[in-house]
């Protein structure tokens, strides 16, 4: 290109640097449009309100309990988010927890060392994930069907292998297993240095934090995550541009089972026992938390922060209802309502108001 021509182009189209700098949304606007942000705000408001209403809610002890209760669900929500971003769903996570717990528990009762038992449990979980991933990604079956099958298979295997017994007589490594599940940090005096007002966070909580940070970094910085979002939005497009769609979907299901296995091992350590019913019904709670945190069941959207905050929100509501003295049978109704509200709010991300969306829906239904 001749310099004069280049200059002319530069004059008319000098704007590369300008255009490149233009962001469609400022960071603040993006925050305002994010469902996870609003759920976090709601969560904060709820916590403040409950603390005012019921002083025992705001104590460090209750914070320890609440964070420990939701951590396993949040860990699984991280895995579920990855699957849901691809436009799939994993219904098998609760059953995988049961199977992992039984495999690990059995090896512990046979006096294997804790790391052998944990590794075997993890392997069993990953095998379930590989089964899901293979049939969904490579055979092309609907994820709903495959993971529904695995929900049944894994639970049944857990019952069969355990002989329908509760396993609790763990061998010599029982104290280590329990220490892993019950560890806390930072400890209050006299054992530790922390003042009274800092909650003693459980190992469950810290594992969740670490996994969430890692997954968050993966979502922001890697091509793998970008492919994940592309698959969820337009699988055909991803395939045409040379993205290894099948392999990435396979990995998503394996990762989901991995998080279920980790959650299972933590709960096993905490209770010091393994029951084959562990995780029954968890799949729905995990999916609820994921969806409340802003993941879209149609695929293409979801964040690590959302997965954690959605699970936390569900647990805080449960805890708040208990503390407020409301009959625990009401929990389901409240949780269900919040799922519907959250998804309704999630439909706002395109910028239309809630009223407009509702009107559109009504018109569409009539039309």
């Amino acid at each position: 290109m001749k310099p004069s021509v280049a200059k002319a182009i530069e004059e008319t189209h000098a704007a590369i640097s300008d255009v490149v700098g233009v962001r469609e949304q400022t960071t603040l606007q993006r925050l305002m449009a994010s469902q996870a942000f609003w759920v976090a705000v709601a969560l904060l408001a709820l916590v403040v309100f409950m603390t005012w209403l019921e002083p025992t809610f705001g104590t460090a002890d209750n914070a320890t309990n609440v964070t420990r209760n939701f951590a396993p669900l949040a860990i699984m929500s991280l895995g579920m988010t990855v699957v849901i971003i691809t436009g799939g769903i994993d219904l098998s996570v609760g059953s995988v927890m049961g199977l992992v717990a039984i495999v690990t528990g059995l090896l512990l009762t046979w006096h294997y060392s804790w790391y052998v038992a944990f590794a075997a449990g993890l392997l069993a979980g990953l095998a379930c994930g590989a089964f899901n991933g293979f049939f969904v990604a490579y055979i092309g079956m609907p994820s709903f069907v495959v993971t529904l099958g695995m929900l049944s298979i894994a639970r049944s295997l857990a019952v069969v292998i355990s002989g329908n017994q509760m396993l609790y007589q763990f061998g010599p490594d029982a104290p280590i297993v329990r220490a892993i599940g019950q560890a806390k940090w930072p400890l209050h005096a006299p054992a530790g240095w922390a003042p009274r007002w800092i909650p003693e966070f459980s190992s469950h909580f810290w594992v969740m934090v670490i996994l969430a940070l890692i997954l968050g970094a993966i979502f922001i910085f890697t091509a793998w995550a970008r492919h994940l979002y592309a698959i969820g939005s337009n699988e055909n497009a991803a395939r045409l541009t040379g993205v290894p769609v099948d392999w990435i979907k396979f990995q998503a299901y394996v990762f989901s089972s991995f998080t279920a296995s980790v959650a299972s091992l933590l709960l096993l350590g905490y209770s010091g026992s393994a029951i084959n019913a562990m995780g029954t019904g968890y799949e729905l709670r995990v999916i609820a938390g994921t969806v409340i945190g802003g993941a879209n069941l149609m695929g293409g959207y979801g964040t690590a922060f959302g997965a954690v905050i959605g699970s936390a929100f569900l647990e805080v509501i449960r805890n708040a209802l208990l503390m407020a003295g409301i009959d625990s049978n009401w929990q389901g109704a409240f949780v269900g309502m919040f799922i519907v509200i959250a998804v309704l709010l999630g439909m706002q991300t395109s910028g239309t108001s809630l009223v407009a969306t509702v009107r559109e829906w009504v018109a569409w239904k009539r039309g």
Partner: protein, 246 residues
């Protein structure tokens, strides 16, 4: 020497003969229109060149090299890119992210290989400027007009330095103003020495940008004429079969 040389290609699907002894060539920097009624064999022709399946008989010669494509990725390696009718874009990603989808620029050392977002946004911005498109690299594709989407898809083809871009009905579902935008994009490609094969139903578009028009009817080539040497009436006649051959 022609960039693309299609030599007496036939393609059968079982008993159905989709293409019968079709030959033509495309020179570098040439814009060729491929026209025909539904079922005339246009899509089959595009898919053959794009490498979706091999021909039953005949050969596709690219730059003097006979190619036997079995997968689109092999055609892409020879510099043939397709801008698909459904555009193959991911709505939830930005323009730059779509341009680089599957070909991301990364930095750092394994295992910490992370995306070089700045480099990708800058390169995408350059590509859009080269196409004189007002598309901004950081904008979400979801909110873009049909013309801008075409620009993103074409920028993706430019990224790999494609020698031949096949465009399947790029102006079928967009507004008049955007059609002008897309035709301008095609001219920009031509000025960069890229050949374009435009598959379209829209007579005015083909006559505006194409140097040459090829007409297929019932799997056979019935015309291969310079745009200047023909008229929309004649081409219509050739497509419908009112004129047998020209």
């Amino acid at each position: 020497m022609a960039l693309l040389d299609v030599r007496s290609i036939s393609k059968s699907f079982g008993a159905i003969r989709a293409l019968h002894d079709v030959s033509f060539s495309v020179d570098a920097g040439e814009v060729v229109g491929l026209m025909g009624d539904n079922g005339a064999g246009k899509s089959t022709m595009v898919k053959l060149i794009a490498g979706n399946f091999p021909p039953t008989e005949g050969a596709v010669v690219v730059d003097g090299k006979a190619c036997h494509f079995h997968r689109p990725i092999e055609a892409r390696a020879e510099g043939i890119e397709v801008v698909y009718q459904e555009l193959a874009l991911a709505d939830n990603l930005t323009a730059a992210e779509n341009v680089f989808l599957g070909r991301e620029i990364k930095k750092g050392i394994w295992p910490l290989r992370i995306l070089d977002k700045q480099a990708m946004i800058k390169r995408a911005g350059e590509l859009f400027a080269e196409l004189k498109s007002e598309t901004r690299p950081r904008d979400l594709v979801k909110k873009m007009s049909g013309g801008q989407r075409q620009a993103v898809a074409i920028a993706r083809a430019r990224l790999s330095n494609a020698k031949l871009v096949l465009m399947d009905e790029p102006t079928a579902a967009i507004s008049v103003r955007q059609v002008a935008e897309v035709l301008e994009l095609i001219r920009r490609l031509k000025s960069r020495g890229v050949s374009v094969m435009l598959i379209s139903h829209r007579m005015p578009d083909v006559f505006t940008v194409c140097d040459r028009i090829i007409v297929l009817r019932r799997g056979s080539k019935v015309a291969d004429k310079e745009t200047a040497a023909t008229s929309p009436e004649q081409i219509t006649g050739l497509i419908t079969g009112a004129i047998r051959e020209a």
